[in-house]
């Protein structure tokens, strides 16, 4: 399985990354090489090996529903690129102009 240049540009676009022509070609090669190695791994017969979803048979640990003071050594203002009235400020995104569209 090889990665195409279109794949690289598509993924870069989804991640809002600017990738120029030369970089796209280089990434296409690198990612294809990674996938080629995956194909080598896929050749190993794992029919008798149960899938590993994670380490630990007990499943994910749970925590009690108790409030914990945030472990913040620095204020938000000290590392946020821009803040105003307590809000983080980001550039307005042209593709998401509608306020109602935010949220999961």
């Amino acid at each position: 399985m090889a990665v195409t240049r279109e794949d690289v540009l598509h993924i870069a676009d989804l991640a809002r990354l600017g990738v120029d022509g030369a970089r796209a070609d280089a990434l296409t090669k690198e990612l294809s090489a990674i996938l080629a190695h995956m194909e080598v791994l896929s050749a190993v017969d794992t029919a008798s090996v149960p899938p590993t979803d994670g380490i630990g048979a007990e499943g994910t640990p749970l925590r009690p529903d108790e409030r914990v003071s945030p472990l913040m050594e620095r204020t938000l203002e000290s590392f946020a690129p821009a803040m105003r009235d307590g809000f983080f400020i980001v550039p307005r995104l042209a593709t998401h102009e509608d306020p109602a569209e935010s949220g999961a």
Partner: protein, 480 residues
């Protein structure tokens, strides 16, 4: 009408915020209305190295919701990353569940069909996920303000089968699901506060065709009636499109309530390419049979079961029970009044009448209503024992709301205790006949229809304290 040539096919996605004290994967508060970004920490801000740890209570509530909606809870479910780039989601992905959700295969009954059988709407899946933050676009020109207090609040998403055929059915489904979740006490289920949100998938097809048409997704509806109106508008649009030889394009649409129309969302093409993969920071969620069994055995009584029981125990009608069970709090209030007073019918009349009117007048809610059920029951008993008249009881009720005093005390303080004493009533009757000689003479001469008028005069004179039954008897004796 072109719409008669098509059938509407709808499936709904309902997002519900779970009622936890802290977020899904960190110990930040979920309180609504805090100043922006106060309830954030390295985990929900996605600072490097921070790791999520799942909230046990969120799992309990999600499991309870799944069982209450008739789903099978899967012993192993897997969290997945749903990747999309947007500043309200600082990690660049939402922790959700994808191919192994918490629960699958439920259903809810939304009413009866013409043959009297339950109309069942299938629930495909119920999964856990985290909420995103809020982006505010209209606060500062040219910039978007981000508040991450909501980022990481635990949600469940309930996905229905495409079983709904009318907008009214969609409304009924939403009201049923909301009521079940209220009875399960897993969420505030308030569309106004955003703790319940609905997206709709809709397609059309000729009746009888089994293959589904191309669907669109409609978002941005802020009430159940908006969902119904949006579905009607989108149904019309798709029907007209097909009739004119066009094709429905798969896309996301936004409901514009002011214009009563849908319009395409500006979301860029490809943004639904979520590239899900298992969340490496969380192990699979494992719930053994015992945990699930315990959750099942601790389920509270659900709306349908409560309706049946109240009808049987208190002799109220199916229509009346629908009103009384609208919310669990109202149903509990009614049941307490009915149980203590022993009179379901009177309890129904008072709760649906005076109690709801008083709550409406004060914009209050029943859980904080000043008159406790046992005190209202006592008032009902005073009426039943003819200690006070029905008219006086309404006055006592108003004063109980005002002062918080007990009914017997209010009745005594206000001199509203009913007088059944023959001599006192006879004196009032004599006075009334004297003060209203024209009506009195005509009545005594045999004009029976004036009896009601005279009873009214006596009740007024006695300030509502005379027992109207005795007054009638006495007047009949005089007139006869």
């Amino acid at each position: 009408m072109s719409r008669e040539r098509y059938e509407m096919v709808v499936g709904l996605e309902v997002h519900v915020q779970l009622k936890t004290r802290t977020k899904a994967f960190c110990g930040c508060s979920t309180d609504f209305g805090a100043p922006p970004n106060v309830n954030t920490c390295p985990v929900c801000l996605a600072l490097p190295g921070a790791l999520p740890v799942l909230n046990e209570r969120a799992v309990e509530l999600a499991t309870r919701a799944a069982l209450g909606l008739g789903c099978k809870v899967n012993p192993v479910s897997i969290f997945a990353r749903k990747n999309y780039f947007y500043p309200d989601l600082p990690k660049g992905y939402q922790i959700s569940q994808f191919d192994q959700p918490l629960a699958t295969g439920g259903s809810v009954a939304i009413g009866k069909n013409e043959a009297g059988a339950d109309v069942q709407i299938g629930i495909t899946r119920l999964h856990m996920e985290e909420d995103a933050g809020k982006s505010i676009h209209d606060r500062y020109p040219g910039a978007t303000a981000i508040d991450l207090n909501r980022a990481g609040v635990p949600l469940i998403e309930i996905v229905s089968e495409p079983d709904l055929r009318t907008s009214a059915d969609a409304g009924a489904y939403l009201r049923t699901v909301k009521q079940i979740l209220q009875y399960l006490d897993v969420s505030d289920v308030s569309m106004e506060e955003g703790s319940l949100r609905v997206d709709a998938n809709i397609s059309v097809r000729p009746p009888g065709q089994t293959k589904l048409g191309t669907k669109t997704e409609v978002k941005n509806m802020n009430s159940f009636s908006a969902v119904e109106r949006a579905l009607e508008a989108e149904f019309e649009r798709q029907c007209a499109l097909l009739d004119s030889g066009g094709r429905v394009e798969q896309q996301t649409l936004l409901w514009d309530g002011a214009r009563e129309t849908v319009r395409p969302s500006r979301t860029k093409e490809g943004s639904h390419d979520y590239r899900y993969f298992p969340e490496p920071d969380l192990l699979p969620l494992k719930q053994d049979e015992k945990w699930i069994g315990d959750a099942r055995s601790h389920l509270p009584e659900l709306p349908d079961a409560r309706k049946k029981r109240l009808v049987q125990e208190f002799g109220i009608s199916p229509v009346e029970v629908e009103q009384l069970t609208a919310t669990p709090a109202l149903a509990e209030y009614f049941e307490a009044v009915a149980r203590v007073s022993g009179d379901g019918k009177a309890a129904y009349n008072w709760v649906m009448g005076e109690v709801l009117a008083a709550l409406r007048a004060s914009s209050g809610d029943i859980t904080h209503f000043r008159i406790r059920p046992a005190d209202l029951a006592q008032l009902l008993n005073l009426v039943r024992d003819a200690t006070i008249s029905h008219t006086a009881a309404k006055r006592v009720f108003a004063l109980m709301v005002e002062t918080g005093k007990l009914p017997a005390q209010v009745a005594a303080d206000e001199g509203l205790l009913q007088v059944g004493d023959e001599d006192a009533i006879a004196t009032w009757v004599d006075e009334v006949l004297r003060e209203h000689p024209e009506e009195g003479t005509r009545y005594l001469a045999g004009e029976k229809k004036l009896q009601g008028v005279l009873v009214g005069f006596v009740m007024k004179k006695s300030k509502g304290r005379a027992d109207p039954k005795r007054v009638n008897q006495l007047l009949s004796a005089r007139g006869g």
